[in-house]
């Protein structure tokens, strides 16, 4: 909105506020309709399916029952959700704590080096997740480079391999998400006024304490959003835990697929999915409330 006002002023054309509203409405129609058709309608259908009647010897029939939601009241479901959340938080913590300093140092480089880094990061995003996950599988396998090297220096028993396990899953997820998070922090960090840091330096602060006591607090909002970004991505992780993890490390996405495509129990899969969406929305609301309270305290 503000950008629109600015551009209008800049071009020197006086526009009535009424007309501007119409233009804005026109511009928002297409994405609005797209979201309505592609997100709201499927979400409604998903809720409807989750309430349908499951036919064990068939697929499902229309109905309105809570059978599948009752099935979620098992230790298994709590365990899966707990694990998915733990994985997501661990991934977010590692990603953010690696990405923030990385993005900070990139913004403090010469222009050319910055461009090179950005091109490199964007380039790494163009690799498919599937390729990366299978590359990790090869790297970590018994006959792989890394396991081979570790075996040679005696850190790994011959024939042992570095997957499937939790660290393999986490490492690969961090690798997949790190470029996104660095690119997410980059604009905000590059817009930080250098004079703020210079002022801190004048007052005798070291570079480290400038970063931790000046830059980080100014980035608090972005950090929170970055954490949420990774949490949302990781919570839905599918291929990485499937290929690099064992069944206890299977995320909710794998269980949804197993229920739907394996057992053919689509109502149960839909109930899982609805619960995940509800959980994510609750998490976002909670974060918003907490950050508002923090802001009003400050």
């Amino acid at each position: 909105m503000r950008a629109a006002e600015l551009s209008v002023q800049a071009s020197g054309v006086a526009t009535a506020p009424g007309r501007e509203r119409w233009v804005l409405a026109g511009l928002l129609t297409a994405p609005g309709l797209y979201i309505l058709i592609m997100a709201v309608v499927p979400a409604f259908l998903m809720v409807q399916l989750s309430l349908a009647h499951r036919e064990v010897a068939g697929l499902w029939s229309p109905g309105f029952e809570l059978t599948q939601y009752r099935q979620l009241a098992t230790p298994l479901f709590a365990r899966i959700m707990g694990f998915s959340l733990m994985l997501a938080l661990a991934g977010a913590l590692i990603c953010v704590s690696l990405a923030l300093p990385a993005a900070y140092f990139i913004t403090r480089m010469r222009r050319r080096a910055q461009v090179a880094w950005l091109v490199f990061l964007l380039g790494s995003l163009s690799l498919s997740e599937v390729l990366i996950v299978f590359a990790f599988q090869v790297l970590l396998s018994t006959s792989g480079t890394l396991a081979g090297a570790l075996t040679t220096v005696g850190l790994l028993a011959p024939g042992a391999s570095l997957y499937p396990n939790f660290p393999a899953v986490l490492t690969c997820l961090v690798y997949l998400l790190l470029p996104y998070v660095i690119l997410f922090f980059y604009p905000a960090l590059s817009q930080l006024d250098p004079e703020v840091e210079q002022a801190a330096a004048t007052m005798g602060a070291s570079r480290l304490s400038t970063f931790t006591r000046v830059v980080l607090p100014m980035m608090r909002g972005q950090i929170l959003t970055g954490v949420l970004l990774v949490v949302i991505f990781t919570f839905g992780a599918y291929l990485t835990p499937l290929v690099l993890g064992r069944p206890p490390q299977w995320t909710i996405a794998i269980h949804i697929n197993n229920a739907a495509m394996g057992a053919g129990n689509l109502p149960l899969a839909a109930a899982y999915a609805v619960s995940v969406v509800a959980f994510m929305v609750a998490l976002l609301v909670l974060t918003r409330v907490l950050s508002r309270r923090k802001a009003s305290e400050a």
């Binding site: 365990r79 495509m261 057992a263």
Partner: protein, 371 residues
Amino acid sequence: MSVTDQSGRRMLSRPGVIGRRGLLLGAGAAGLAMAAGCSGATGGGGRSLRVSSYGGNFEQALREHIYPLFTEATGIAVESIPQPAGLQFLLQLIEANKAGQTPMDLCISAPLDVMRGNAAGLWRAYDTTRIPNLANLPESYVTRGAEGAAAIGAVGWFFTMVTNPKTVSPTPTSWTELWATGRRNAWGLAGTGAGPMFEVTAATYFDGPETLNTEAGIRACVSKMEGLKPNTRLWWESEGTMQTALENGEVQGGVYFADVAETLIQSGANLEVVFPQEGPVIDFGSWCQPSASTKTEEAHAFINFMLSPQAQNLIASRLNAPPLIRADLLTLDDAVRAKVTSPTPPIATNLEARRLHLDFMVQEFSQMLAR
């Protein structure tokens, strides 16, 4: 194709051609098959039939070695379509059938999908009087719906023990080897929710697959399977994953499709196919005709041909798969016979247990794995 196979039905294209890339193709392959079918031109203007079967070696062998003989005998041209196995395929087929535009006239379907298709009114019932060779097929391979025979057995497949002779020696003789204490992290086992591990466990430690008819029996089997966890490095859901693990030496062996293992051996993999004394688990695919397909005459002729000893002999020698017709009708040489028949009777997949308790089996199994 899907990444999973949870119910003992084949859910993946054959990995011989597609391998791990199989994981990527997913619904894409299904869409492709549908699109291929809709374009549906067989050319020539003569009689024709569009037949889909599991893509990869399987479809290729049928197309190259068996269908031409059918065309020669009947003058009916066959358009062979690779078919992804899995629920997406069935769901798409149900929709296409409702719209009156099925991409094929006949497809191969695993027992659970036959059942699901039946419930959805997907399959056309055959006129069995038009299929004289049906007399060659044991009745257990014919699935009857409300209106008659809806699915007729096409080809069988064994889930059996596959080992790497370099690391597993001497060759095991019993399924109990999977539970043996010296085999920590050795195996790749079917991680599918209601898959063949149920039959293996029930036949090895309980009263056979009938054990699975009750919830108590299912619980007992699942708690016995708990003992497999320390020995299992990979709970595979897709053929491709297990294939990679076998080839890379990530696993010393495990449970796998006998026919795929034979194909891997033929292409140089150091593997041994073992038929344990309790028997391999046998499952099978059936020919099914979506009701929107109108080529009943051609379909009857095709199924009749596929049930002939000539076609079934070729299924054994070219697909490495167990033929389904009565053994006395077959003429197999000893080498082929050894690959496609088990010295002890195979363990039949208990479909009734799936019909009654599928969700319970999947739930108990998933809980056991996730613990």
